[in-house]
């Protein structure tokens, strides 16, 4: 059986209509949520909100049109899901704005600046970058040329917060860079650049890294001198942890590197070695660094520290409990009881007001997004694209797991933003660039032009699908 036979290559539908329909649904949900908050809190719906709703709709439409124009065969699920998550984030940020304003009013304090309009502005910027990425990156394989540039730039951004003057420490973690009035978290951009670097680097080095030199316990292990990259990644992660005190980012990078290494080399030994390195790093960090030690102590017994270091997590758990199965209802909980309700703890606000039902819906949205990313990775035909799509999806997955797990006390709490939901520009922009890249790769994977078929690959795929 040959795939060059015109009969077997059916015209692939582009599914752009489905994408548009889903986008309209996402937008409509946002409008309903906003109205519900207005009614429930007694704030009504300020006129400015209709402008917001219109702007969000316009932005979504622009993205849809650009995808239609530049990535016609892209997966139709990615864009609507990411848009729905962003809209849900905007709705919750608006909700928390309302709560903060009401609290200020009761205490006769000056009204705080709402965050939702700033977030909307960041969404607009994210859309610009999304469009730019789709237009500029016509073929993701070209990105492979800049592998080392990406790597260096990524490392540079990672250490940027340590630079004097512009580096800023907020709440104990040095993650921010402030230039003029603008501040951003370079780690969010660095995670994309480093994923690009890992993908490009591993595609080239995978053969030598996969070479088995020693056998131990039935598993093939690489030679000591090939451990170099692993050690470097480990050291960088630890460096981020020690100097920037950013546990979340540290975990994210190391986890990402190990999984990509495993995918590239197809050697389980790397996972085992990586786990050992992780265990050593975690143990050292726990023993040596007070902030890591504190996080674990609070994780094990938050109730003892309910009024001090455990305040956040305890309030978060109370929020989830208050939500129960059906949730308190949008606008009817106390989301601002949890400090950083609209950034790290936005999931707690969702758990309180939308309940377990809302949490399941939310996590399944992420699951769909990540599954679609991995599907693009599996079906694209070049190794670089496979590694890149897998890496980007894994970044999202790890980030969701680390922050949601932290906020719900499944694992120790580490500061990370919740993709698409959290208030904060760098995170939103970076995640939308990830979506742009995944859309680009999925478009390549689903495009029905047969000259890209490599006979061997095609055959393998047919076998796999049976």
């Amino acid at each position: 059986m040959s795939l060059t036979d015109p009969q077997s290559v059916r015209r692939q539908p582009s599914r752009r209509g489905a994408e548009l329909l889903l986008l309209i649904c996402a937008w409509a949900l946002g409008v309903l949520g906003t109205l519900q908050i207005g009614w429930a809190t007694g704030e009504g719906t300020p006129g400015r909100l209709w402008v917001t709703v219109a702007v969000v709709g316009a932005l979504a439409l622009v993205m849809h049109l650009v995808v239609r124009w530049k990535a016609r065969y892209a997966d139709p699920i990615l864009l609507p899901v990411a848009t729905l998550l962003t809209i849900l984030g905007l709705v919750m940020i608006y909700r928390i704005d309302v709560a903060a304003a009401q609290r200020a009013e009761r205490n006769n304090a000056p009204p705080p600046t709402p965050d939702v309009y700033a977030q909307l502005t960041w969404f607009a910027i994210a859309v610009v970058l999304f469009v730019a990425a789709l237009i500029l990156v016509k073929d993701h394989r070209r990105l492979q040329r800049y592998t080392y540039s990406f790597g260096l730039l990524g490392l540079f951004l990672l250490v940027l917060p340590l630079a004097p003057i512009i580096g800023t420490t907020v709440n104990g973690a040095t993650l921010w860079v402030r230039i003029g009035g603008l501040s951003f978290q370079p780690a969010e951009v660095a995670k994309i650049l480093l994923t690009l670097f890992f993908a490009g680097y591993l595609v080239v080095k995978r053969d030598s890294l996969a070479l088995v030199r020693t056998k131990f316990l039935g598993l093939g292990f690489p030679q000591v001198r090939d451990l170099g990259p692993l050690v470097i990644a480990w050291a960088v992660s630890l460096g981020v942890l020690v100097f920037e005190r950013d546990l979340g980012t540290s975990l994210l990078f190391f986890g990402l590197f190990i999984t990509m290494l495993y995918i590239a080399t197809q050697r389980r030994s790397w996972l085992i070695l990586g786990s050992i390195f992780f265990a050593i790093g975690a143990y050292l960090a726990y023993q040596l660094f007070e902030h890591v030690h504190n996080r674990v102590t609070v994780w094990l017994d938050p109730w003892t520290y309910a009024d001090t270091t455990g305040y956040q997590i305890v309030q978060s758990l109370y929020g989830f409990a208050n939500g129960g199965i059906m949730g308190a209802g949008l606008g009817q909980g106390f989301p601002n009881f949890v400090p950083f309700a609209n950034t790290d703890f936005i999931v707690a606000a969702i758990g309180e007001e939308l309940g377990l039902t809302g949490m399941f819906a939310l996590l399944l949205l992420y699951a769909v997004l990540i599954e679609r990313g991995l599907r693009a990775a599996v079906s694209v035909r070049d190794s670089f694209g496979q590694l890149l799509a897998a890496g980007l999806s894994i970044t999202l997955a790890l980030q969701v797991f680390v922050i949601v797990g932290g906020v719900t006390r499944l694992i120790p709490l580490t500061g990370l933003t919740t993709p698409f939901l959290s208030y904060g520009g760098s995170s939103l922009v970076a995640n939308w660039v990830i979506i742009a890249l995944l859309i680009r790769i999925s478009d390549r994977a689903r495009r029905p032009d047969i000259q890209h078929f490599d006979a061997d690959d095609a055959l393998t795929q047919v076998v796999r699908r049976v």
Binding site: Q332, F337, L363, G405
Partner: protein, 482 residues
């Protein structure tokens, strides 16, 4: 190709998703109740302080109501006669949760009860907070006030019941507490007051009328007399032995009358006269003749060994199981391990007055919606037929004789025939004896049955007639509007 590895990673990520989902389910479903009720968690109470809670009404007047404050906690729970109604309303505290009707009727008061289904539908669409319903109690304000006044300075409780229905007309305790001080918006003051109440040896937080268990002493002779009449072997005129002291069977101990005298000439006495002068030896003998089975059966028909929810949970009054003869003799005069609440003894009086039918006691007359429309009314229900109407009428006459010619003289009300029984019960040497009075009036078709128990009065002379009967009289007069 790397697809297999990507799929494997996908499986790992799926497992991580499952871990998140399971963990969140555990928190929001299994642990949620525990988390909500943790002492540091203010959400639930703040949510409740944020909406108007329905009133608890005595007649048309609120015993508990929500008042708008104009600050962060929008509503303040206020009790207009706090200590007077504390055993009924309970308290509703930011820190210590709720007790009394505030607790049992919470769903009505917050408007979350299914009775408000229609209101809730409209609230759901408007996304508004539910408005609470009102709970109307069965309490008679005048009876409650009379009992409260009578108990002043003593440790004890009063319960009054309408015999024909089981409606609770009064439930009073002393010492009481002021629920206003537990619902204030100052957590430190609340804690201080609560600690003070908790460390008070007189236990003001105890819901004494329905929870405090005391030996009923001679008032239990009503149950023994009822069992005697029920046996068919005795009438009010039956002659019983009533010596000055009674040798307990199989024992060297002797039981004595309170005045250490014989109950009648030649140590013989009628059942009627034995009740009138509260003859211990005659009733102890009678108890042994009837046997513990018959006594227990009669006691249980009147409410012993049953846990009542009125809807506050009352303590279970008990008649002990498996008694030997000396224990039966002591139990027949309300000593040994017989224990009763004031509520229980009021039920005994009410059953006799109500032609022998024991009614379920209840405290909530009706539930009204936010618009004051009646949504639910409690219908009286019979608990058991404890006596035949004939026996009940005979026992009633015997009790009238107690007040008119016997030990219960202080319960007399001019122009009204009052049926009553005194009691004095020994507890242990550490505590003073407990004084009781159980009565109902008017004797034919009574409007009120009342039980008064005084645990401590700081009086030297302890007697049911001296301490408890005057309080019972005032409560009955209040109900009869005398």
């Amino acid at each position: 190709m790397m697809s297999r590895q990507i799929r494997r990673i996908g499986v790992v990520l799926a497992l991580m998703l499952v871990a998140l989902l399971v963990n969140i389910t555990v928190i929001q479903v299994v642990l949620a109740r525990d988390y909500r009720e943790r002492p540091g968690n203010q959400r639930l109470l703040l949510a409740e302080y944020d909406r108007e809670r329905g009133p608890i009404l005595v007649g048309a007047n609120p015993a508990a109501r929500s008042v708008e404050t104009g600050n962060t906690l929008r509503y303040l729970r206020t009790y207009d006669d706090g200590p007077l109604y504390a055993p009924i309303t309970g308290f509703y505290s930011l820190i210590y949760g709720a007790t009394g009707l505030e607790r049992t009727e919470n769903r009505v008061l917050t408007g979350k009860s299914d009775l408000f289904f229609v209101d809730r539908i409209s609230q759901l669409f408007a996304g508004r907070q539910p408005v609470g319903g009102a709970v109307t109690t069965t309490i008679d304000a005048a009876a409650q006030a009379a009992a409260f006044k009578g108990l002043k300075g003593k440790v004890g409780a009063v319960v009054a019941i309408e015999p024909a229905t089981g409606r609770i007309l009064a439930s009073v305790q002393s010492p009481s507490f002021d629920p206003n001080l537990l619902t204030s918006q100052d957590p430190e003051a609340i804690r201080a007051y609560y600690e003070e109440l908790k460390s008070d040896p007189a236990k003001p937080l105890l819901n004494r009328p329905i929870v405090a268990l005391n030996p009923p002493g001679s008032t239990f002779k009503l149950v023994t007399a009822a069992a005697a009449l029920a046996s068919g072997l005795y009438t009010p005129d039956s002659i019983l032995p009533g010596p000055a002291s009674y040798q307990l069977p199989l024992s060297t101990s002797e039981l004595q009358n309170w005045n250490r005298k014989e109950c009648g000439p030649d140590g013989k006495v009628t059942l009627r006269q034995a009740l009138a002068i509260s003859c211990n030896t005659a009733f102890a003998w009678l108890g042994v003749q009837l046997g513990d089975e018959a006594l227990r059966k009669q006691a249980e028909l009147m409410g012993f060994d049953t846990s009542f929810q009125i809807p506050l949970k009352a303590a279970t009054s008990r008649f002990p199981a498996e008694l030997d003869e000396p224990q039966t003799a002591l139990s027949a005069i309300g000593q040994f391990d017989v224990r009763a609440t004031a509520l229980q003894m009021a039920m005994v009086g009410a059953a006799i007055g109500n032609n022998g039918a024991t009614m379920q006691p209840y405290l909530v007359q009706e539930v009204r919606g936010p618009d004051l429309a009646i949504l639910q009314t409690t219908e009286p229900t019979k608990f058991e037929d404890a006596m035949t109407p004939l026996n009940a009428a005979q026992l009633t006459e015997m009790m009238v004789n107690v007040v008119e010619n016997g030990t219960g003289s202080n319960a007399k009300i001019s122009g009204v025939r009052v049926a009553g029984k005194t009691g004095t019960a020994e507890t242990d040497n550490e505590r003073p004896a407990v004084a009781w009075f159980v009565a109902f009036a008017p004797a034919q078709s009574p409007k009120v049955a009342v039980a008064v128990v005084i645990e401590d009065s700081r009086a030297t002379e302890i007697s049911g007639n001296g301490l408890a009967a005057p309080i019972a009289r005032e409560v009955m007069k209040a109900v009869l509007r005398q």
